[in-house]
């Protein structure tokens, strides 16, 4: 009789091709995703005279450098010549490698590398999915192990369809109860990170469980898994259920009708067995989670919106104390200040964390009938999201409220395409990182949910979204 196993152990173990004496394992990869970033990987393959083992198992997206305006002009919309090279060489590299699933700048399904794959039905339960980006963990929403790699390791996957890794340990994060009004998956993950810390998940693969997680839509689960890396965990996943299967059915990369029954049977076998042991667990009460906002330059420097900026001197841990002092100096904030009094200069709604249809609906609900007091931009995660949002009229809600409605890309999450804050400017942003300089040199970022971002836009401060619903 087999011992009770976690979902993570089941998925991992069925992908082990081989093992080194010291425990590193050669893992088989189901799918790989690249953007313009890992050009080093393609250059390396060419120099070494190596090819790509299975070109149909890699998807490529132009997203980091994609302009969010003027896209009817195609590649000419890219003003920065170096950014243009990045987008063009992805096309050259994928053509060289035989990767036909290249969603370039003018492709009707173009979008962010962690938004488009789910639209295609690529991430499926039981898969190992790698990507040249840490937010590849997003795919965990489908009961897959999704994780990022550096360019050299991406090169390895392209050449061999495998990767050497040391197995992480499973950790379960429970979120029980139900979420209150105005509280979203983004607030859940920020609350989890605030609880376990930005290093709390290092060496672990997270499984999110509990009724509040089950209650999330697939899009909410993607937001949650997306930011696993911000807790230090390379991957985070949610067990597949009816919502997962419903999402996948009929999508172009999902199993087709004649294979569906076999696939679903396999997927159902992956769930964590009753009694399976997790070396570490954490538990939060969903009902107690409030809308959150970050105040520092690390993701665990976050607070419920009704809270105040803490006094770093109150932190017992000297590492966190020093880090918080540095963060407050950078952010231009003082201890004791109410979070909701923080005035913002600009609002960004977008990114692989929060640019799906549900996110835009939540923001539009707050923006409807109101006016933005500060510049605000909405950047859909993909052309598909954009089309659906426009079919629902969301773009008109935003435009009437004075928000900009743009074209898809990573945009101001990482500011690679020129969408950035001026030095010293402060944003409310639905992206995933509040690091120093992340949204441009000297930028100050407060990470929030889409609804909170819309509330910040119409009030000019980090207002509690529950006052707007």
């Amino acid at each position: 009789m087999c011992a009770a196993m976690t979902m993570f152990d089941k998925i991992w173990d069925m992908h082990v091709v081989g093992e080194r004496e010291d425990g590193e394992q050669l893992m088989y990869v189901d799918y790989n995703v690249v953007s313009e970033g890992p050009f080093y990987a393609f250059n390396g393959l060419r120099q070494e005279g190596r090819g790509v083992r299975y070109p149909d198992k890699t998807l490529a997206m132009a997203d980091h450098y994609a302009p969010t305006t003027g896209r009817d002009r195609g590649i000419d919309s890219v003003a920065d010549p170096e950014a243009r090279v990045m987008i063009e060489q992805l096309a050259v590299n994928t053509a060289w490698a035989g990767i036909t699933r290249h969603y370039g700048l003018t492709h009707p399904q173009q979008g962010i590398m962690h938004v488009v794959p789910a639209e295609l039905g690529m991430p499926q339960p039981g898969m190992i999915i790698t990507g040249a980006d840490s937010h590849t963990s997003t795919n965990g929403a489908f009961g897959a192990c999704g994780f990022g790699l550096g360019a050299s390791q991406v090169k390895h996957v392209l050449a061999t369809q495998t990767i050497w890794l040391r197995k992480p340990k499973p950790m379960r994060v429970w979120v029980d109860g139900t979420l209150g009004g105005g509280v979203s998956a983004k607030d859940v993950i920020l609350a989890i990170i605030a609880r376990i810390g930005v290093g709390g998940g290092v060496g672990f693969a997270l499984e999110y469980a509990g009724s509040a997680i089950r209650g999330l839509s697939m899009e909410g689960r993607m937001t949650l898994c997306n930011m696993s890396i911000e807790a230090g965990a390379r991957m985070g996943m949610v067990a597949p259920d009816g919502k997962t299967f419903e999402h996948l059915r009929g999508r172009e990369l999902a199993p087709q009708a004649d294979e569906w029954a076999q696939a679903e049977k396999f997927w159902r076998s992956l769930l964590t067995d009753e009694g399976a042991q997790f070396p570490r667990e954490a538990r939060l009460q969903g009902d107690a989670i409030e809308p959150m906002a970050t105040w520092g330059t690390s993701l665990d420097e976050a607070s419920p919106v009704g809270g105040r900026i803490p006094d770093p001197g109150s932190f017992a841990d000297p590492g966190r104390r020093g880090r918080a002092e540095k963060a407050l100096a950078y952010m231009g904030l003082t201890p004791g200040m109410p979070i909701a009094d923080i005035q913002v200069d600009r609002v960004f709604i977008g990114s692989c964390t929060n640019a799906r249809l549900e996110d835009l609906r939540a923001a539009a609900k707050v923006a409807r009938g109101r006016k933005a007091r500060v510049p605000a931009m909405v950047v859909p995660g993909s052309m598909t999201v954009k089309r659906h949002a426009e079919e629902e009229g969301l773009h008109e809600v935003f435009l009437r409220a004075g928000f900009e409605w743009r074209d898809p890309g990573c945009s101001m999450c990482v500011s690679a395409n020129g969408d950035r804050l001026a030095p010293g400017e402060r944003s409310a942003s639905t992206s995933n990182r509040n690091f120093e300089g992340r949204q441009g040199r000297g930028s100050r970022t407060h990470i929030v949910s889409p609804a909170m971002a819309a509330a910040a836009a119409v009030s000019g401060r980090l207002a509690d979204v529950r006052d707007f619903l």
Partner: protein
């Protein structure tokens, strides 16, 4: 890849917890070819002011540390983005090793892929080394990879752990792909069994 065997070099302290890779290299430089010299982008926004002049108080701009080839970092060093450019920048500046209590997974693996040794020592030892450097800027640390020993500025020797296969790779300067390609037959055998279980995932090249 350049092998790493041993190194005695000046150590620079950058002893903060949770240093992210956006700080080590801002994203806007990741579009540059390697020939641009990634050393120019290392800690760019902290090292240089808005006009591009060196900030005299930044650690790597201070004379004793300009020639540093070993960096001392805090726990969870290299967190955040998986960008390998962070390691390219360190390496191009001459850094061949980092000493820290722990690393983000990506950063550690990216180091290994580029011949940079990520040494792990207890937090108390790393703090002590950082303190010794600050008391005596320009002091050196010796790292002996075959013996797995770090000799701190105070002369005390500390053993560190590293996976034997990773150690061997660093010592010989080998990359992963060559080793993996020796297992091509095993990968093929795995695929035969695997795709019988999940036939809907079979790559085009393996379909009849």
């Amino acid at each position: 890849m350049e092998p790493f065997v041993s190194l005695t070099a000046v150590v620079a302290p950058y002893y903060f917890a949770d240093v992210d890779t956006d700080r080590i290299i801002p994203h806007r430089f990741l579009r540059k070819p390697l020939s641009a010299g990634y050393r120019n982008f290392l800690f760019h926004d902290e090292r240089l002011d808005a006009e591009g002049r060196e900030r005299p108080d930044f650690v790597l701009n201070r004379p004793p540390y300009r020639s540093a080839r070993i960096l001392v970092g805090g726990r969870n060093f290299g967190c955040g983005s998986a960008r390998e450019g962070a390691v390219y920048a360190l390496q191009d500046r001459g850094f061949r090793a980092v000493i820290a209590p722990s690393y983000a997974d990506f950063f550690r693996e990216n180091c290994m892929q580029n011949g940079v040794l990520p040494v792990v020592l207890d937090e108390s030892i790393v703090a002590a080394i950082a303190g010794q450097i600050q008391a005596s800027p320009g002091s050196t640390v010796a790292i002996d990879l075959p013996g797995q020993v770090v000799r701190a500025p105070d002369g005390i020797r500390h053993r560190f752990e590293i996976d034997p296969s990773r150690k061997e790779q660093l010592l010989r300067g080998l990359d992963d792909i060559g080793l993996t390609l020796q297992r091509t037959a095993a990968i093929g055998a795995f695929e035969n069994a695997y795709y019988r279980r999940v036939p809907w995932l079979r790559p085009v090249a393996l379909r009849q």
